[in-house]
């Protein structure tokens, strides 16, 4: 008794252990909320904002990220309203415009319903999801990499730009990086980027046939989608 709470996600009554996050619970129950910066067993920072949901408090909707939102008794969560879908699409569009050279991000973008990119592509090689920084700090207690700079200049780097001795070269940062999986047709050249949308799983979702359902994409395995993390 007292270890579980009941809440509703998209109308489904769900019994969840206290202390877990809404995103974890949703994934557990097969409600696929798109996410990028979340990795199971690491802390959540709410950086990518893709996992936003509507949290209905006293009849008023509050938009917040589900990864940082702890479950509470009687909570009402809507993860797939028109408003959320629109916001999520816009965020995914911003991300894919920034880093089109990642199959993971291309996949997420199509999954979120991005049909066109209205901004000039930038072909950057990092979206600052912070997966690498957190795995280094939390899993290996190494803190060999961290965020440097603010705003536009923020980037991931070694302390003072030099690889320290305490970096164990474990490669976890590379493992978790969404940028390491290139699009099917290979890396896009600067100035020639496009929205890919080629994978079967992506196409099936883009056409609307299986919209809003997680298809357990193979990509997720390599990318360590939180869903596989539970296995």
């Amino acid at each position: 008794m007292g270890k579980y709470v009941t809440l509703k996600i998209d109308g489904a009554g769900i019994r969840a252990p206290k202390g877990s996050s809404v995103l974890d619970v949703a994934i557990e129950y097969g409600i696929c909320i798109p996410h990028l910066c979340h990795v199971s067993n690491l802390s959540d920072i709410g950086a990518c904002r893709l996992c936003i949901v509507e949290n209905i408090v006293n009849g008023r909707s509050k938009i917040t990220t589900s990864c940082t939102l702890g479950v509470q008794e009687g909570m009402v969560i809507l993860s797939n309203t028109e408003r959320i879908k629109k916001l999520r699409r816009n965020i995914a569009e911003l991300l894919v415009a920034q880093a089109p050279n990642s199959r993971a991000i291309q996949d997420v973008a199509v999954r979120c319903g991005v049909k066109e990119v209205r901004y000039p592509f930038r072909n950057s090689d990092c979206v600052l999801c912070g997966r690498c920084v957190r795995v280094c700090e939390e899993m290996w207690q190494a803190r060999a990499i961290g965020f440097v700079g603010r705003g536009k200049d923020r980037h991931v780097d070694f302390p003072f730009g030099v690889r320290p001795d305490f970096c164990k070269k474990c490669g976890s940062c590379i493992d978790l990086c969404p940028m390491t999986i290139t699009p099917c047709d290979g890396p896009m050249k600067p100035g020639k980027e496009y929205l890919c949308g080629k994978c079967e799983s992506q196409l099936s979702m883009a056409s609307g046939a299986m919209e809003d359902t997680c298809v357990w994409c193979e990509l997720g395995k390599g990318f360590r989608c939180a869903r596989y993390g539970h296995q």
Partner: protein
């Protein structure tokens, strides 16, 4: 032997000290109050102070004339300022050379020097006292009025005007619950920008579980053009300390912090001195005033990141971590500094607390509108005649602030818009100036009270350019943690830059609106959530300017360089050659006493010729 400061051990000690200080103040025949706030300091008030002191020493008047260097008086435009007592004579625009005359004429003979008085711009009459000046007349100065009577480096001055009596009243007559109830009745709302009811914050923090609790004063004011928190902390630090002590008593905290920007050296210095003095007097430490309440505080200097004004980022910075906000799904009143319940309030909010306790909640609630009570300090800047700090009752129309107090736009131009609330606020057009300054009314109009900056813009301001300026500021100051704020502001700036440089496409305006909505809804912290306001409010009230930029590739205000051309009106030009000599690019040609011509290929549109021409013959098209 160094003089040992008397320790104030009980409320009786405090009242006696106050009486003693007041009677010793009568030993001085006259008092000279000189503003040493940052505004006047910039107009060289230190030189005036030195000259006055030297002159007094020369005439051996140091014992009978007291020179008091105080914090900001508000009318920074006219600085350096001086007030002479008796008579309350108000001198402005002083020079070090005036010192001798002031002492010889006014102090010794009691004669007023006409030349140094303020001239009413409407009637051209000389005005002798502060109260008669239109700038001060329309104000309701509760917090700022004290600045005049207090040397910020002297706790004695503060005690003499009744300082720390609100604390004494709290400790003897009020239970913590009663303090919170009193603040609740007063209707005080946070002055830092959010406008959250202070009493509710305190009550939540009090009921939060945990022995250790903290109070923090947010003095990380970073809005361009805003300096009210700075002026209070510089001019009257003890008021803030007293407010924090009352708040700490109410929520059950024993430790407080003042988080102040390192770019405010005077505020840091004065706050540090004030804390030291309060400790010496026993007003900070264990068993304050014999009431069994122990409290101490420290100063923490911020590194100048705008985002550290955001509560969670500020606390991270205070803990010694990177100043980045964290998700606020659990509020800081239960999980704040070092994961302990924490109450964070703005400087001005804390400063209001002692006034509420001494004057009563009803007094405070008697001022203002239904939803917003009390007075609010605004920093009036921009293209306005009387720049300075303005304190008005909530509910005062913006028009009163801009025209009656501010005196309208400079150079006789028309006011076009007023930007309130700093980078996160919005621009309101002239026909919205009848709006009262009220948290809810301004929010509904797409702007906000914010921390209290008011920037006045005249007809020579391009609103798209204004949006671009604020976006550039926010892009610089965004911490970069969350995607919508970091990428969204960047893309909005990209679009607005395209528009100002003539590459704008009509569909970009819709994209801008959609993007603004996304950034506002999905960002992590307050900075991101409010960052699209400058864009949204200019799009809402000045759509025609965006359309002119996009469709006609024209900047109506003549600001955006890529869209304007400088020409010389041949009929008005008399060939004086001033523009030709001034042009750094050699773009102007013409013979003496003949109309000149601008070579548009060489012209860099710097605008120097425009300011050099005395015959209005340079046209911007």
């Amino acid at each position: 032997m160094p003089k040992v400061k008397p320790r104030v051990k009980s409320v009786k000690d405090l009242t006696e000290l106050c009486k003693r200080l007041r009677s010793s103040a009568k030993n001085f025949k006259s008092k000279l109050t000189i503003c040493g706030g940052t505004g006047c300091h910039a107009s060289r008030s230190q030189d005036v102070i030195d000259a006055v002191k030297k002159e007094l020493k020369k005439r051996k008047l140091e014992k009978s004339v007291r020179v008091r260097v105080t914090g900001c008086h508000g009318f920074c435009e006219q600085g350096p300022l001086m007030i002479l007592e008796p008579g309350n004579i108000f001198y402005c625009g002083l020079k070090p050379g005036d010192a001798g005359e002031i002492i010889a004429e006014t102090i010794l003979k009691g004669e007023v020097i006409e030349r140094l008085l303020y001239t009413d711009p409407v009637t051209s009459n000389k005005v002798q006292t502060e109260a008669e000046i239109p700038f001060y007349r329309a104000q309701d100065r509760q917090l700022l009025a004290q600045n005049r009577h207090v040397d910020p480096c002297s706790i004695e001055d503060y005690i003499a005007i009744g300082g720390y009596s609100a604390l004494a009243k709290t400790l003897t007559e009020f239970s913590p619950e009663k303090v919170i109830k009193e603040v609740k009745i007063s209707g005080l709302r946070g002055r830092g920008g959010g406008g959250f009811p202070t009493a509710r914050k305190w009550a939540e923090c009090r009921s939060a579980p945990g022995e250790e609790k903290y109070v923090i004063c947010n003095a990380d004011e970073g809005d361009p053009g805003a300096y009210m928190d700075r002026s209070i902390l510089e001019g009257n630090p003890h008021l803030v300390i007293e407010g924090m002590m009352i708040g700490a008593w109410a929520i059950g905290a024993r430790q407080g912090y003042i988080y102040v920007r390192n770019e405010y050296p005077l505020a840091v210095k004065h706050a540090r001195i004030a804390i030291q003095q309060a400790r010496e007097y026993g007003l900070l430490g264990d068993d304050i005033l014999g009431g069994g309440f122990s409290f101490d505080m420290e100063i923490c200097r911020g590194g100048g990141a705008f985002v550290c004004g955001e509560s969670t980022a500020l606390m991270a910075s205070l803990e010694g971590k990177v100043g980045e906000p964290r998700p606020k799904d659990v509020h800081t009143v239960t999980d704040g500094l070092w994961h302990k319940p924490t109450t964070l309030n703005n400087v001005e909010t804390w400063a209001n607390v002692p006034l509420i306790i001494s004057n009563g909640a009803a007094w405070f609630a008697g001022k203002g509108t239904k939803g917003s009570k009390g007075t609010k300090i605004f920093a009036l800047t921009g293209r306005v005649k009387n720049t300075g700090l303005v304190e008005v009752a909530m509910g005062t129309p913006l028009r009163t602030i801009v025209f009656d107090i501010g005196g309208g736009a400079i150079n006789g131009r028309a006011v076009k818009a007023v930007q309130t609330g700093g980078p996160s606020g919005g621009c309101l057009p002239l026909d919205r100036l009848d709006l009262p300054v009220d948290f809810d009314a301004l929010y509904d109009a797409g702007s906000m009270v914010g921390s209290g900056g008011i920037v006045v813009m005249d007809e020579k301001t391009c609103m798209v350019d204004v949006a671009k300026y604020f976006l550039a500021f926010l892009q610089d100051e965004s911490c970069g943690k969350c995607a919508p704020c970091r990428l969204g502001i960047d893309r909005m700036l990209e679009i607005v830059t395209d528009i100002t440089e003539g590459r704008g496409r009509p569909e970009q305006i819709d994209l801008l609106k959609e993007l603004a909505d996304t950034v506002a809804s999905a960002s992590l912290c307050g900075l991101g959530k409010t960052s699209p306001n400058p864009v949204l409010s200019t799009l809402r009230y000045f759509p025609e300017e965006y359309e002119a930029h996009v469709n006609e590739k024209r900047c109506p205000a003549g600001v955006c360089r890529e869209l304007i051309e400088y020409e010389i009106d041949a009929e008005k030009c008399n060939g004086c050659g001033a523009c030709r000599r001034a042009c750094p690019h050699g773009a102007i040609k013409g013979k003496k006493k003949e109309a000149h011509v601008i070579d548009s290929h060489k012209c860099q549109k710097c605008g120097i010729c425009l300011s050099e021409c005395k015959f209005d013959s340079i046209i911007v098209t």
